[in-house]
Symmetry: C2
Subunit: 154 residues, 2 copies
């Protein structure tokens, strides 16, 4: 007795995602459903894989809005093709690679720091405002004209 349409509860337990999250994804346009006469959601089976992609993408570090863009190219009612997936997974892997490179660079800087004991912060890349400022848009930023000299004195 294979169901072609899943209730939100079925999708929830099979995909391992709370119903509230599924409704939330739907408001964001990440997934889509049809309605019964009684106004209840029914999801096509392909949504199962769509949700799996969302989870995988989040694992990689993608935000829902980024995922929204990525999934926009895939059909809602059909399982994505091999080509679809190859394209997606390749770009995700590249992203991961870049993230890994960044973290390795950070670790190497930190290793240098340990060596210098950070009693002379001047030589310590991790404390260098110039570097640290290239972070997220919001949050603390180093102001123009600042130098790490200030951290060094005394």
């Amino acid at each position: 007795m294979v169901m072609d349409w899943l209730t939100i509860g079925e999708l929830s337990s099979r995909a391992g995602v709370a119903t509230s999250a599924l409704r939330f994804y739907e408001t964001k346009g990440l997934i889509a459903s049809e309605r019964t006469d009684g106004n209840q959601r029914r999801y096509p089976r392909a949504t199962l894989r769509r949700v799996a992609l969302i989870r995988a993408g989040q694992e990689i570090g993608l935000s829902l809005s980024e995922l929204s863009d990525a999934l926009a190219t895939l059909p809602h009612e059909k399982t994505p093709t091999k080509a679809d997936w190859t394209k997606l997974s390749r770009s995700w892997r590249n992203r991961l690679d870049a993230q890994i490179q960044e973290m390795i660079a950070l670790r190497d800087e930190l290793s240098d720091c340990i060596g210098c004991g950070c009693l002379s912060l001047k030589s310590c890349a991790i404390f260098n405002p110039g570097d640290a400022a290239s972070d997220l848009g919001t949050g603390p930023r180093y102001l123009l004209g600042d130098s790490s000299e200030d951290l060094v004195k005394r």
Copy 2:
């Protein structure tokens, strides 16, 4: 004319952190200040380095509450010793190393995925609920008794 105490504005521009953030850090106990007769904050010079440590720790991916624990061992009014810093930076590097290892594992799984085209998700570690569930406490989790079979059929 070296000042031994910094106003919040001075600390802000020298550390590259907004005054609002500094007040916020103070409410969290990450930094501490004395007050003038007129109730204005004055920070000891060592706070400069403390804020630098906070920034560096955030860069590593630590939350403020984790940093709170880490900084709790350091004196507020004095520059940390070489031993203090060595201990801290070593543990941070280990943490970074672990993060890097996790990401490399994820990338390798994803690489396998690309190979298999993910038309047989069964062999695809990245879609495996058992793995994905070991994530953050909040957010979507895979429920007991689920298997990735559900994602595979059809």
